[in-house]
Amino acid sequence: MTAIAIARLDLKRLAVRPFPWVLAGIAVAMMAWQFLLGLSAFLHAEPAVPGATGALGFTDSVVGPYFLNFLQLCLVIAPLITMQALAGERRAQRLALLETAGASGAGIVVGTFLARLAFLWLLLIVVASMPLVLGGATQLDWGQFAAGLMATALCTGALTAIGIAASAFAPEPALAAAAALLIGEGLSLIDAGVRLAGGGDGWLGYLALHTHLAPALRGLVRSQDLVYFLVVTALALALAMRRVATERERG
């Protein structure tokens, strides 16, 4: 109940701050540009392979890379939108205000997470609407699109939770952003060397975001990938809850 109240409060506060709007504006503009570039490349390549069997369609060649680009952007946006969530509130003594108003540590963490996630998912809806408007004019693979959208949404959730955890542990919002960016980039690049060498099936590969995104962007929904995103999200939120719950002891 308090989590919902805090989520409402946080969303309201996000909605009247200029920073999230600027961030959203820049993100949508960048994604629109990426989409146009992808679409343009697809249209130029199409005549070269008329009726060729096995040629990549619109969903494979435009939508998949487009969702991947959004997630690359989220590696930066998620830390920026979550950095103030707990670190900034703690500095301004508003975390203590929430606690004395009866909010539990878990309620605070889940509430701030839900508010930030709602912001990023709204952004994702706007971003996803770009290929959707072409759905009638091209052969959009709806199953593959839905799988890609779901994986992107789950990955966004994991990145948001990592940002919230970093904000819970860091004393300064800037440090929280830097830590969340490092962790996100780390998970994104952890298996880059192995992949270049042609490997990627080991535990390093399992930890990497790419391993769990790539199948979904091709339209393949695997339970192990869903579990991975949910576990990362739950783990990050649990760490943040533990940290907030011990604020009283640490001072």
Partner: protein, 244 residues
């Protein structure tokens, strides 16, 4: 100690912060209807004591009780009986005064009609009707303090905890604050901190003097002007080793 029938009781509270022993076995009690002033120089441990009373900080040792209920037993029930206004008066700068009060009521689990009624009551009590739609980030310090008080009183707590409530207020605002505290005290206990002797003498009927983390004086104010001043000066100049 005189803890029988006390609304609030601190029993040998100790706390270290940043490698420094901030509080050493602090004990005092407060009865309903009392306004207790925590007096001390900067760094004496006043804010730490109040943060512990508010349930924001945990003591390393000792116990804090409201009507015999320990904060460690049920923090949620504890917080429902306390209203806390820290020195910096944290408010949500992006929200208007009535939105901030509404959000606090929502966090306290109050229903829509109860929230509406209590917000009206608090706006009237602290003469905030004129700024109800103004953003909290645009309020003067005096207005911020009144909004902080309104927020802290929304759920009608038994105990009001005010950290340096008179800091930065002009004489008129200070007078309004005194009147507000006087009108609030009969139904509840109030504990406030200050390093201003005149403020404590004007607002409180009991005083506890903290010096270097220890209670050095705990007595009712008998209304003799200047007597507290002499006692406080003597305590403030005494070395730490003289602590009880």
């Amino acid at each position: 100690m005189a803890g029988e029938g006390a609304l609030l009781q601190l029993d040998r509270i100790s706390r270290r912060l940043g490698g420094r022993q901030v509080l050493r076995e602090v004990s005092f009690a407060l009865r309903r209807g009392e306004v207790l002033g925590l007096l001390g120089v900067n760094g004496a441990g006043k804010s730490t004591t109040l943060a512990i009373v508010a349930g924001v900080l945990a003591p390393d040792a000792g116990a804090v009780r409201i009507d015999g209920c320990d904060v460690a037993d049920d923090a949620r029930a504890w917080r429902s009986r306390i209203g806390w206004v820290p020195e910096s008066v944290p408010l949500w700068p992006e929200l208007s005064v009535s939105e901030a009060l509404d959000a606090t009521g929502r966090l306290r689990g109050m229903g829509r009609s109860a929230r509406r009624a209590t917000i009206e009551r608090e706006l009237a009590r602290f003469d905030l009707g004129g700024v109800a739609t103004r953003l909290c980030g645009l309020l003067s310090l005096g207005q911020r303090r009144r909004v902080g008080l309104a927020q802290a009183l929304l759920h009608e707590p038994d105990l009001l905890v005010l950290d340096e409530p008179g800091n930065g207020l002009d004489p008129l605002q200070a007078m309004q604050l005194r009147e507000a505290i006087a009108s609030l005290s009969p139904e509840r206990g109030i504990v406030l901190s200050s390093h201003d002797l005149a403020e404590v003498e004007a607002m409180c009927n009991r005083v506890v003097v903290l010096h270097e983390g220890s209670v050095r004086h705990d007595a009712r104010l008998d209304g003799e002007p200047g007597r507290l001043d002499a006692q406080f000066r003597a305590i403030a100049r005494s070395p730490a080793s003289a602590a009880a």
